[in-house]
């Protein structure tokens, strides 16, 4: 019995020693546990958790002796395994809540089994025939050339609307400049009042048209009409005399003395 224990202890130390030497090569405590579990040479579901816990604790102790820095999670795992081991060995305490030692151990076994399964799957995946290594894509590709053709479209309605738009813009303008061609009677009256006082002889009505309104026929027509109307107004007021010798003859006026 003690011999047996001794041998086991020695095996554990050897296994642990191998791990400690290459601790940087391990991907965390679970990885180390998976490696250690293989020394038990049993199905992961039948693994002795107490033994695994001992192996791991031995590994941590050895690392300490050799003054190898272990990351915090290795120590957390050590503490947890020590706790698990005590739970597994001591009779269950009815006052304590939470999962039993067996449940915890079963889950750890499951985790190890799952990690190992994933590793095997990964290896099989990577061993598959792979694109770019075992089977190749077309080397000389002919890419689709994109030809962009732009079609301009316009309907007759748009064309007509555009023309209507241009024409309508024009239509807004006359409102202002058409007024320029109108010489109002007020303007004519104002002008006549200033001029007539000095003219005592008969003179032609047309001579009273403002300079700027004589040439353009439209403007001349407006100015003539207004000046004539203004003259009639002044006759009515008694300030001016007016005469016309014949039909369509010259219209003359003079200031009433």
């Amino acid at each position: 019995m003690p011999d047996d224990l001794l041998i086991r202890d020695r095996n554990e130390r050897l296994a642990a020693e191998a791990l400690v030497v290459d601790v940087g090569g391990y991907e965390g405590p679970l990885d180390v546990l998976l490696t250690l579990s293989r020394t038990q040479k049993v199905d992961l579901r039948r693994i002795s958790m107490v033994e695994l816990a001992d192996q791991y604790l031995c590994f941590v102790d050895l690392a300490k002796e050799l003054r190898i820095e272990l990351a915090a999670d290795y120590l957390v795992m050590a503490a947890w395994l020590a706790f698990l081991k005590s739970r597994l060995l001591l009779p269950p305490d009815p006052t304590e809540d939470g999962p039993s030692g067996e449940e915890l151990a079963a889950h750890l076994a499951y985790q190890l089994e799952r990690l190992e399964a994933m590793r095997n799957a990964a290896a099989k995946l990577m061993a598959r025939d792979r694109l770019g290594r075992d089977f190749l894509a077309r080397g000389q590709t002919e890419d689709v050339t994109m030809k962009r053709r732009i079609v301009y479209d316009a309907s007759l309605v748009e064309l007509l609307r555009a023309y209507a738009g241009v024409k309508t813009r024009e239509d807004f303008q006359p409102l202002h400049y058409q007024r320029d061609a109108i010489y109002t009677m007020e303007q004519a009256l104002e002008r006549m009042k200033g001029l007539i006082g000095a003219v005592l002889d008969w003179s032609d009505l047309e001579e009273y048209l403002p300079e700027a309104w004589r040439l353009d026929p439209k403007k001349r027509r407006s100015a003539l009409a207004s000046t004539f109307a203004a003259s009639l107004e002044m006759v009515k007021a008694g300030t001016v005399d007016m005469r016309q010798a014949e039909t369509f003859g010259r219209i003359e006026l003079r200031a009433r003395a």
Partner: protein, 206 residues
Amino acid sequence: MSTETLFEAPPMAEQERMVEAILFASSEPLDTRALTARLPHGCDVAQALALLQKRYAGRGVHLLRSGDDWAFRTAADLSFLMQKEVVETRKLSRAAIETLAIVAYHQPVTRAEIEEIRGVSVSRGTVDLLMELDWIRLGRRRQTPGRPVTFTTTPGFLAHFGLETPRDLPDLKELRAAGLLDNRPPPGTSVEREVDDDHDQDDMFE
């Protein structure tokens, strides 16, 4: 015997497969020497190529030889599949459609006249686009100082807009009746001018 067997060439069908795979994956055409170097000893590349070329005859992909170089290429009659034509329909810009409308109603019309009517200058690009679309073209030169070129519409313009002659374009009165004059002229604007326009237009088409 045993050493000979070691170097025995694979069956021709296998050689053909090999040449097929190598040419497929190669990023450039390969000559028979390069192919021979890639194949197991004793292969008859020329025969494999001949068989392969026959196999692909009439397929969507052909084995083509140029000089001593061999490569797979898409069959020439299917090259249209390698081009994707994207047709993009665009609306004419406001400047373009207005310019086109003015040419249509006032032809033959000079650039200066278009600018006077639109109230803004006409860019070269606008005129070029309309010419490119074959909707307007150069007419005869105006017999006035500087002999400016005039623009007229084309048969293509008539065809696109479904007109028989430019005279089919409705006049302003008809446009208004059709509700196309969105911007109603302010009340009080005389109808006289409109008549004037009609008159002008007649001149243009005479």
